[in-house]
């Protein structure tokens, strides 16, 4: 039996093609082959040996058959490959689907709003052309106040103003809604800035507002910290640990990512400048953060009692925070875009990257 097996396996291995292999089949596995003859010879054995020898022969037959099948498959594949069919150059480029691309500012707005949505903030929009009341007076910016200079607004010939910030929307919203309030208000804003690598006369902000009985600076810190964690971590923390950006993401996830510095806005009291730990160097100091380790990212503060009053809310009962983030700045940080003009240039080769 063992001899038959050795012979058969040797013949299978030596077969160079499918034709050769079928001869081997005939020689060994067919009815009249070596195995067939062996099975027939079993009848000549004494009865008590027949069972054992039969079982052993069956086992060997199965083993040979398996080896045969493997060889058959291998020779068949080799044959196909030689003919040229059944082979694919998987390194050729894929066929690009004809889809368009979402503008990076939309991607940023989408993500920001999604995060705030998940924390209970609704989305509202407000008008781009404003009047003096909503733009300045209601926001506690008196006439000829130095704070008006900061905005350097564009004025229309009919006396109205292109909003230099999204804050007027706060007042308009509070006028017709009762607290508790949680909103984010994205939109286009305008300033009299000549175009350069970091200024555009129109750009985007996202205003945030949260008002209730006891919304505090501590609450603001918590919400904003959570926002930045989610915004800059996304899936990056899960990515390749050797990747520099995931290191950033981990650092951000780890703790102290924001700091508040004193600032002044007429519509908030106290007012802060919010700095984010530099996402490029994780706070070590680099050219992007001018070596400080921090990036100035938004203005914020506790809604000034006069603003609440102007919107018809009693500041004795209600308090809360407001903030304004630059969407362009977020996009530039997130995608490492070094020139704001790229966002408004409609260059298809830029858009194709998003």
């Amino acid at each position: 039996m063992e001899k038959i097996k050795q012979k058969a396996v040797g013949d299978i291995d030596r077969a160079q093609d499918l034709a050769g292999l079928s001869l081997v089949y005939k020689k060994h596995l067919d009815k009249d082959g070596t195995l067939g003859c062996f099975f027939r010879s079993l009848g000549e054995l004494p009865k008590d040996e027949r069972g054992r020898a039969g079982a052993e022969a069956n086992k060997v037959k199965t083993e040979i058959a398996e080896i045969y099948e493997k060889r058959y498959a291998a020779l068949e594949a080799a044959g196909r490959q030689a003919e040229g069919s059944g082979w694919l150059d998987v390194t050729l480029p894929g066929i690009k689907p004809m889809v368009g691309h979402i503008h990076p500012l939309s991607l940023v707005e989408g993500r920001v709003l999604e995060i705030f949505n998940s924390m209970g903030f609704g989305i509202i929009e407000s008008q781009e052309v404003e009047n003096e009341w909503y733009n300045f007076d209601a926001l506690n910016v008196p006439k000829e106040h130095p704070a008006r200079d900061v905005f350097d607004s564009l004025f229309l010939s009919d006396g109205s103003i292109l909003r230099p910030h999204t804050s007027p929307g706060q007042v308009r919203y509070m006028e017709c809604h009762q607290p508790p309030l949680r909103i984010v208000a994205p939109g286009r804003v305008f300033r009299r800035d000549p175009v350069d690598a970091s200024h555009e006369p129109n750009f985007y902000q996202i205003e945030g507002l949260m008002v209730d009985k006891a919304i505090s600076v501590a609450n603001f810190k918590s919400i904003i910290d959570e926002f930045f964690k989610q915004f800059f971590c996304d899936c990056e923390a899960e990515a390749d640990p050797s990747n520099k950006r995931s290191e950033v993401a981990r650092n951000i996830a780890a703790g102290e990512n924001i700091r508040l510095r004193p600032s002044y806005f007429p519509f908030t009291e106290p007012s802060f400048e919010v700095d984010l730990k530099c996402v490029h160097c994780s706070g070590k100091g680099c050219s992007a953060c001018k070596g400080t380790g921090w990036m100035e990212i938004m203005g914020a503060g506790m809604v000034h009692p006069n603003v609440l009053k102007n919107a018809g809310l009693n500041p004795q009962f209600w308090q809360g925070f407001a903030f304004g983030i630059g969407s362009d700045r977020l996009a530039m940080i997130k995608y490492r875009v070094n020139d704001i003009r790229l966002l408004y240039d409609s260059n298809q080769r830029f858009l194709d990257q998003f």
Binding site: S106, I123, L156, S157, R188, R192, A214, Y344
Partner: protein
Amino acid sequence: MRIILLMLFSYNWLQTFFDKKLPEPKELAKLIVKHCFEVESMEKSGKDTVFDISILSNRPDCSSHAGMAREIAAVMGCRVILPKIKNGRVKPVLSAKSMIDVQVADAVACPRYSAKMVTQVKVGPSPKWLQDRLSACGLRPINNIVDATNYVMLEFGQPLHAFDWDKLAEGRGRVKKIIVRYATDGEEVEVLGEKKYGLLPTMLLITDEAGPLAIAGIKGGKRAEISEKTSIVVLESANFNQRSIRMTSRSLGLVTDASVRFAHDLDRGQTVEVVERLADLVAEISGGQVVAGVVDRNPNPAKPKQLTLNMEMAERLLGTDIQTARAKKILDSLGFAVKKGKKADFEVVVPTRRTDVTIPQDLVEEIGRIDGYDKIRAATAGGPILPPPVNYFWLCKIILRDSLIASGWSETRNYTFVSAVDCRNFGFDPKDLLEIKNPVNADFSYMRPSLLLNLSKNIAKNSGQEILKQFEIGKIFGASRRSEPTMLSGICKGANFFELKGAIEFALGRLGIDSCSFAPIKDDEKAMGGICDRARSARVLAGKSEIGFAGYANEAILKAAGLENVAVFELSVDALAKLATRRNDFRQISTHPVAIRDLAVLVPRFEYAQNIINEIKKTAGPLAVSVEPIDIYEGAEIAPGLKNIALRINYQAMDRTLDGREIDKMQEKAILGLEARGWKVRR
């Protein structure tokens, strides 16, 4: 013009306000950034270090070394030592009153005017230490008198001026007059530096009886300038209304160290103390004699404000516990007088220099920032978080955007601004548009009346692209500022009208608007202000309401833009949002086979396919589940003026397999219907 309080501070000078050593410059800068103001830069200057600090616009009191020292003291919890006023070497015989009189025409524009005199001065260079400090802070030393005024300004933030008393017009006896009044129209003043300014009647002047001496609060004049011969000086320490100074400074285009400070809400309580300090310094460095007394016009003295600070409110606002003793110490160190009031209240007296502090919340800010905002631990807001209401308009914009992306269109964001030439090229009269009074440049003079004006420029910008399909969602503006319609517009090159139409139909379908149709533009209608070529464009309808237009752009417009064969569309997102149902009801799928029948019909060349389809649907009945054109031919075998349209009709029933005879009958009806319209059907 932005008027910003940016100031250079000398580290060595700041050190003079303290008896203990200040932290190293780098550490000090960190403290200032954390608790007070942004330090823009820091530079070594000899043995000194100079900080460039951006003072917040509500804190003009800190545009001085004394002011900054007070902040540092509060942060470090130590004491500030201010220079003592000696009032020394007073010449007893004379008094300021006997030499000078001050008249103020408008106490609103000039709330306070204080003048003091020093006689027997010797004008010359100032001592080196003083020159060094001025240079470190970016001021050029001139002579000891002028330098002293600048020095004390940098010390206390109060702009000061010195006049040569002998050059003032003679008055009655020895008393000379200084008059603060508005300019007469066209009145001229020659200022230091040989420049002349023509003035308006809204501008405030310092004059004597002969004419202008200075532009109030902005710049001194030539006439009473300090010279080497000067021996008696009049020192001016005044307060001017910030609005008046801003307006004058702006319209003259003249910004000075004085005007920047006055343009902010400066303390009028300090003028006398500061002028006394100045007189001391002038006497000290010029060998002069201080004349006794100050002439002070101060009809409405600044009164310190009183505020009640409730500590529970403070804790609720900051969201943290505040040690009462700590709060008191912080306020004390900033110069607030604090007394315990009722229960959790403090009664706080605000020093007049703190013009920014008007409500208790302002005091909370002082406590918060000096203690450090980093001490406030983040805490989640209490109360349930409810899912916010869905903003359907926003959602609608997202759906439109995503659908267009899926159809191969890319989103862009273009300027809101357009030029007069752009407007005219697109058939808009600039007179009908919103104009910007102070545009960044002439190309940005008008508010876009259509997104297509700027979108069309993208084709030239992307000349390397064979196929370009771009869209934008944004607001457009008409002549009235009341409406700001939101539009969705697209422009494409290298794609034909039907791709564009397909993209629109798909997007509208996603919004649940299934009644979208494209109607020809009638002869008497202008296709969207003439942007489109009427014969090759359509009105886009949803049901019966018109929601926009789509088609090939007018040749004239394309020529002006150097383009050809560009298809465009513009849809009203406001209208779409109203029509969007977001409904997508499932339709039963028939399990019975479809029977396909084709026919061809000869129709006039300008017949619309939709009319033929409608006719077939009408006559063949509801089992003709679809009728679609499969080929259009005009040419050799067809009579001129006609075209052959081949159509495929699918017949299908929900409940049974249609038999041949039934189908033939329907097909016959359809043919008869077409023939009844006078069209020849080729079976």
